[in-house]
């Protein structure tokens, strides 16, 4: 039994990748560690459960990585996706540390495999977890438990006592009541606030009500709010997040990877008025995947429809819900509860502007529209071969970037510019330090692992002093 009256060296709030890396590192550094996870044992590890890979720099190919991915290239990629909105020094440090992460995390029992079918483009840069994120978490939990880390599930932290940047105790829900837990230092790894609709609404307006949350319902930003309220410095923009267009039939929370749709580039995307609103073929899908959540969020009622024809049906990864199917565009519109005349007009218009080309979905081909706004720059083929198909899509929020500012020790920085006495942060809750906007696949786990490990190590050292 976990004894909550005892004073632990390190208290970790959260139960995902960042939390477990911190807990293991702190324990290995000799500290006594308690992990408080809000979710049940099955749902432990929030968004980490849904992941499949992490992006780490490496100087040579490995059993599972098809080639080198040098620190410079990683850094360039990060600069490109964030448009420079990153703390460069911190980002470089993270990328450097990510190299060691590949072996460190394997030593904690996590196993890798070559990139999954359908994700060849990541085979060189990203390390895939054998069995996926939950397998990865299971390994971390097993290691943590073997090392003697205490873990409590269904243990949401609902309050914290923080004085002048110093953590004193946390109030944790226990059944109907609660308990106060003291510790020498604190690591917060409780995720972003993506599951908090009210908070999302503050910056996104009522549109946020129609967002689907791809991962855990537990990442409500309660800890983030407490920290900001206690004078920790804020970093990032509350509207910045990773958001993709997912199947509108997905559940409100935890729909995970299987609601993802990779067929935008093969058809057209219309809003509820049957109007197109963005170039579907602007660039290869992996580079455009993460802009469509935001695009759909900007449309009326936050809904869109991907429409394509029989020729494209088998060109993309299958997804969990079947596409809506009809013999004519008009019938398809009816099934989607759209105006048939309007959809027919949009499709005809589109078809009329497609110029002949040689279709090649493996590269930027010359199939495009001419004289159409918005254009479709690649893979534009007339939508003419029945049956016709559609997927309804909504914005699916992966995670938010607003967080607490940290330094190279993963130590929180206070709004007055001073480092916190004993508080550290890792993972989504501080992602905004390196990820001001944009996204590069697998970097969420890199941020969690690298800063988690540092936070754990530093928190352990801090507790001893």
């Amino acid at each position: 039994m976990v004894d909550l009256t005892k004073r632990y060296d390190v208290l970790v709030i959260g139960g995902g990748n960042a939390a477990l890396c911190a807990a293991i590192a702190a324990r290995r550094a000799g500290a006594t560690v308690l992990v408080l996870e809000a979710a049940t044992k099955f749902y432990r590890g929030g968004n980490t459960r849904h992941t499949r890979n992490m992006r780490c720099a490496h100087d040579a190919a490995t059993d599972t990585l098809s080639g080198p991915y040098y620190e410079d290239e990683f850094f360039d990629d990060l600069l490109r996706v964030t448009g420079g909105e990153t703390n460069e020094a911190l980002a470089k440090m993270m990328i450097h540390e990510s190299k060691e992460m590949l072996t460190w995390i394997a030593e904690q029992g996590v196993r890798f495999q070559p990139s999954l079918g359908g994700t060849l483009s990541l085979g060189r840069t990203n390390s895939f977890f054998l069995g996926g994120g939950r397998a990865m978490l299971n390994a971390l939990y097993l290691t943590a438990e073997n090392l003697g880390v205490d873990v409590l599930y269904e243990a949401e932290v609902i309050g914290m006592e923080i004085e002048n940047g110093m953590f004193l105790s946390a109030r944790v829900k226990r059944g109907e009541g609660h308990a106060d837990v003291r510790a020498g230092s604190l690591v917060t790894a409780a995720g972003g606030f993506e599951a908090n609709k009210e908070w999302l609404e503050e910056s996104w307006g009522p549109a946020a009500r129609n967002f689907l949350i791809r991962g855990t319902p537990h990442n409500r930003g309660t800890i983030l709010k407490m920290l900001l309220g206690a004078g920790v410095d804020k970093i990032g923009d509350p509207t910045q997040c990773h958001a993709v267009a997912i199947d509108a039939r997905a559940p409100q929370y935890d729909g995970g990877i299987i609601t993802r749709l990779d067929c935008v580039v093969f058809g057209i995307v219309v809003n509820k008025h049957c109007e197109r609103f963005y170039d579907e073929g602007e660039d290869v899908w992996p580079k455009r995947y993460a802009i469509w959540g935001r695009l759909v969020a900007g449309q009326p009622d936050q809904i869109g429809y991907i429409v394509f024809d029989a020729r494209s049906l088998e060109l993309f990864m299958p997804s969990c819900f079947p596409p809506i199917k009809a013999d004519t565009i008009g019938e398809l519109a009816q099934k989607l509860e759209l105006d048939p005349a309007a959809l027919e007009k949009t499709v005809t218009d589109f078809n009329d502007h497609v110029v002949p080309g040689t279709f090649d979905h493996t590269q930027l081909d010359d199939c495009r529209t001419e004289g159409l706004t918005p254009p479709k720059s690649h893979w534009a083929r007339r939508i003419e071969q029945a049956p016709f198909y559609a997927y309804p899509v909504r914005p699916g929020i992966t995670f938010t970037y607003l967080g607490v500012r940290v330094n190279h020790q993963s130590r929180m920085m206070m709004a007055d510019g001073k480092p916190s006495v004993n508080m550290f942060a890792a993972g989504e809750i501080m992602a905004g330090n390196v990820l001001g906007r944009g996204y590069a696949a697998g970097i969420g786990m890199t941020i969690g692992s690298v800063f988690g490990r540092i936070a754990g190590r530093e928190a352990a050292a801090n507790a001893r002093n």
Partner: protein, 372 residues
């Protein structure tokens, strides 16, 4: 669209898994699944028999129950697998034997033992049956060798014919041409994969059994069972050769090849089934097809009894108990033979064949001839 609700559920799961693919590296099932977009009954029966029930994909799945997607691949494939044994049973009239398999096998075994005992009492010379017999031909004084060979030869032949017929149906149903069975490379790969139980390893760490700590116990006990069985089979085969080729009659001395092989195999068949049974009772019930428990238990019990009665016979063969023990042992072995096509024994055959097909598909995948 599907023959059963179980197959419809398997289809749903494979569609979910195909859009996820996180378990791709765990075993053969997922790569084979990725080669398909739609899942006909034959495809699902192939995948179900390819699954070794290691349980890894259940504990690694973010969508397993209580998640609303309710993804439980090991359970549903286990159900589909047993259904497939019944669906391919030959003659089809006997497929009902799979419904309450534990009971069916017990009754057949009991009857078989009873018939042998009655037969011995009825036909054998009481003076021989109840007194100690020694020296070459001791057994055959109780039951003539030719009668024994005839009865067991016929039972064995029947089992082979029934299983060949079933296999033909399976192979046709999964849509694989007969020619695949003549490809040396695929067969050899399948022999290696089956004999090492390559896919009963949870993707490398061992099976998920009673809790989240994976271990290799089931693989170990399965090895005891399988190799025990093979050694016993080898013992019987060498004994047959001794009899017909060398004209040397059983019982053989303890150091002779048939006895050594049989004893080692028998020990394997005591340890293996007990270990597997214990693992079964301890295993997380969530991933097990509890309704078909009876089938597994019956088969393990039959193997155990075959070995136990055989070893007792070896130990007590020079005492007056030999006659009755021989009757019991032969009764058990006879029922093991005739129930082979209608019990858990067939899992090995279908799984081996599924591995043959997978070996072929894997080769073609790697050569780029087959893509999802």
């Amino acid at each position: 669209m599907h023959a059963t609700d179980t197959l419809a559920e398997a289809d749903r799961l494979m569609t979910v898994c195909n859009s996820c693919r996180y378990c791709e590296g765990l075993c053969a099932v997922f790569p084979a699944m990725e080669l398909r977009r739609d899942f006909a009954d034959g495809d699902l029966n192939y995948l179900a028999n390819l699954c070794h029930s290691c349980g890894a994909c259940y504990s690694d799945c973010q969508f397993s129950p209580p998640h609303e997607f309710n993804v439980n691949v090991p359970l549903v494939l286990a159900q589909a697998r047993t259904d497939s044994y019944a669906a391919y049973a030959w003659p089809p009239a006997f497929s009902g034997l799979f419904a309450r398999n534990g009971l069916a096998i017990s009754i057949i075994a009991a009857l078989s033992v009873a018939v042998f005992i009655a037969g011995f009492i009825g036909w054998a010379d009481p003076k021989v049956l109840y007194t100690a017999q020694t020296g070459p031909g001791a057994f055959y004084r109780v039951m003539p060798h030719n009668t024994m060979a005839l009865i067991f030869g016929a039972a064995f032949l029947y089992a082979i014919v029934a299983m060949v017929m079933s296999v033909r149906m399976f192979w046709k149903d999964i849509g694989e041409p007969a020619s695949t069975l003549t490809e040396g490379a695929s067969i050899w790969q399948a022999v290696k994969d089956a004999s090492t139980l390559r896919y009963l390893d949870g993707g490398g760490v061992g099976c998920m059994n009673e809790d989240e700590r994976p271990n290799d116990n089931r693989r170990l006990y399965h090895h005891f069972t399988f190799y025990g069985f093979m050694l016993c089979f080898a013992a019987t085969s060498t004994a047959t050769l001794y009899h017909y080729l060398l004209g040397v009659e059983a019982p053989y001395p303890w150091y002779d090849l048939p006895v050594v092989l049989g004893t080692l195999g028998g020990i394997g068949l005591l340890i293996g089934p007990v270990g597997l049974l214990a693992a079964k009772f301890r295993r997380d019930p969530a991933v097990m097809d509890k309704q078909r428990y009876g089938m597994d238990v019956a088969f393990l019990a039959m193997l155990f009894l075959t070995s136990l009665t055989g070893l007792l016979l070896l130990v007590l063969r020079e005492t007056p108990a030999m006659g009755m023990l021989l009757a019991v042992h032969l009764g058990v072995v006879f029922s093991l033979f005739i129930t082979m096509p209608y019990g858990k024994f067939v899992h090995g055959i279908y799984r081996f064949l599924a591995l043959v097909r997978y070996a072929k598909e894997k080769r073609m995948m790697e050569a780029g001839e087959l893509t999802a």
